[in-house]
Symmetry: C2
Subunit: 312 residues, 2 copies
């Protein structure tokens, strides 16, 4: 059964019961617009688009995987400001021949990810596309009284720390690209990330001076903090973990696994800078420090990485 | 010069200065997420997607037209709740060969529409697509102390009124579809709507019991109010204006212009129901009344229109 078979109204009838609910939802989907409760006079807002073939492949990812990934990468952006995601709006362009079960699975994935932090889907749009699936998710979030942590506040003398994992998604992608489906943990990490949501607000409470999530790659995203803050960042790779599975996969594929750690995006770890006096909890591991100057240095060497560019 | 020539960073450098600013923007584009000021503890939120070839054609619409339309249809949804649009998030999927000037023109159009009500663009995403341009806009808005006007509050005895125009976009589409580019007023109306933004909050202040915008067609959208409110709606077409240009175009094309008025969408007029005692200002014209029962009646006849379905 395809979405053309049941039409827009039939599709929405099947999707609405799948939407996660949130206490912040004052008025949910079905009217011209939704109404979302906002505390403290300001709302965090971010949007990301996923294009089939570029951001996900239907032969590699289940619809549930794509739903989790689409929700996670937006909710991670809210966490990276020190906020808590409360509501998603989801726009979906589908070819008419898309199976209804795909759309249902996608929304089930959205709900699973939202349920991790109690966010709701409050609105959306479903339109027909001629070529492949395109997804646009907007996440709204609450600062819950905290001040937002931008990329621009890192100061010389600060320590640099990371919460969550890096390199897993890139390793999974490399494995999938060579036609393998294992190791499962790496492949699954590429399908959707495991975001350390609570570490974002925790970092704000600890006095983080700058923060962002790792969507483009550790070095590229550290560079965005360095540039925005007008500082240099030095990290060492020895504290970053190359797991046994990652090492074995890298060996089999003839790849240096440290590249995955440094250049791999989409794990949506959080990276932040803290005043040196701050006693960091276990969820945050120190990987370097902020110094005067420009650029990112890895194990003492300047990193030439320019980050991922969609159009180059 | 294409977007592939200058890359994502080069493109963003050219787009950022074009973004409209708003007093509600506490933190604008460039970080993980934006921060938007919200009064009254709640925010209005809505999203719409536009797909090239389905919602706009590059040979019919300039990039500026597409930008205005993308902003307008979302800001109209906010107005249809009785709110005022304050912030947009704009996700854009572009083929690499898209001219940079197209993207610039699109953002100029977004700004022109936003400037009508003082809204800002606070965030976005630009990604590469393989097939055509896809646009997803999310609008956030403020109720400014008003209660939201949903589709569900119409009561028997209420009057039905309209602010703004209907049939213009459909007439313009019919003209363009037959290969003509005039009359200019109709063709321009199809390229982007002229939304009566102020009439939305005004209706809320006047005590409107239900409201929505005409995006799918007058009868289809009246039906959505009738269904949500559990009532029947009767309208007369005599008060709806068939302009001289519309009449001439309809005659030349062999079309009944009343169909444009009743079934044409995308003009984003506002339709609302009010208690009969309310003294409506000039911007709202009475076109009918709410009665007990089901369905929409036009000039005494039940309307069989089922509304536009993207997938059928």
């Amino acid at each position: 059964m395809t979405v053309s078979d049941i039409g827009e109204a039939g599709l929405l009838e099947r999707l609405f019961p799948r939407l996660p609910q949130s206490r912040a939802t004052l008025l949910g989907p079905g009217d011209d617009a939704a109404l979302v409760a906002v505390r403290g006079g300001r709302v965090v807002a971010t949007t990301d688009m996923l294009v089939e073939g570029r951001h996900f492949r239907l032969d590699w990812s289940s619809p549930r995987d794509v739903g989790r990934k689409a929700a996670a990468q937006n909710l991670a952006d809210v966490a990276a400001m020190g906020g808590v995601g409360t509501a998603l709006l989801v726009a979906l362009a589908l070819p008419g021949e898309t199976e209804v079960s795909w759309a249902e699975g996608f929304y089930d994935g959205l709900r699973e990810e939202c349920d991790l932090i109690g966010a709701g889907v409050v609105g959306g749009d479903v339109v027909r596309s001629e070529h492949g699936i395109t997804i646009a998710v907007t996440a709204l979030g609450s600062m819950r009284g905290r001040e937002p942590v931008t990329r621009a506040g890192a100061k010389p003398g600060d320590v640099v720390a990371i919460a969550g994992r890096v390199g897993w998604s890139a390793a999974g992608l490399a494995v999938l690209s060579r036609g393998f489906r294992t190791p499962r943990a790496l492949v699954d990490a590429h399908r959707y990330p495991s975001v350390p949501y609570a570490a974002g607000p925790a970092a704000a409470d600890l006095g983080a001076t700058a923060m962002c999530d790792v969507s483009d790659g550790l070095v590229a995203d550290l560079r965005s903090i360095a540039v925005a803050s007008g500082v240099s960042i030095e990290i060492t790779t020895e504290v970053l973990e190359v797991t046994a599975q990652m090492r074995d996969a890298a060996q089999a594929l003839g790849i240096d696994p440290v590249r995955w750690l440094l250049d791999g995006g989409e794990d949506h770890a959080l990276i932040a800078t803290f005043p040196a006096r701050v006693d960091l909890p276990e969820s945050w591991r120190t990987i370097g420090r902020v110094v005067r100057g420009r650029g990112v240095y890895v194990d003492g060497q300047p990193s030439a990485d320019q980050g991922f560019d969609h159009f180059r």
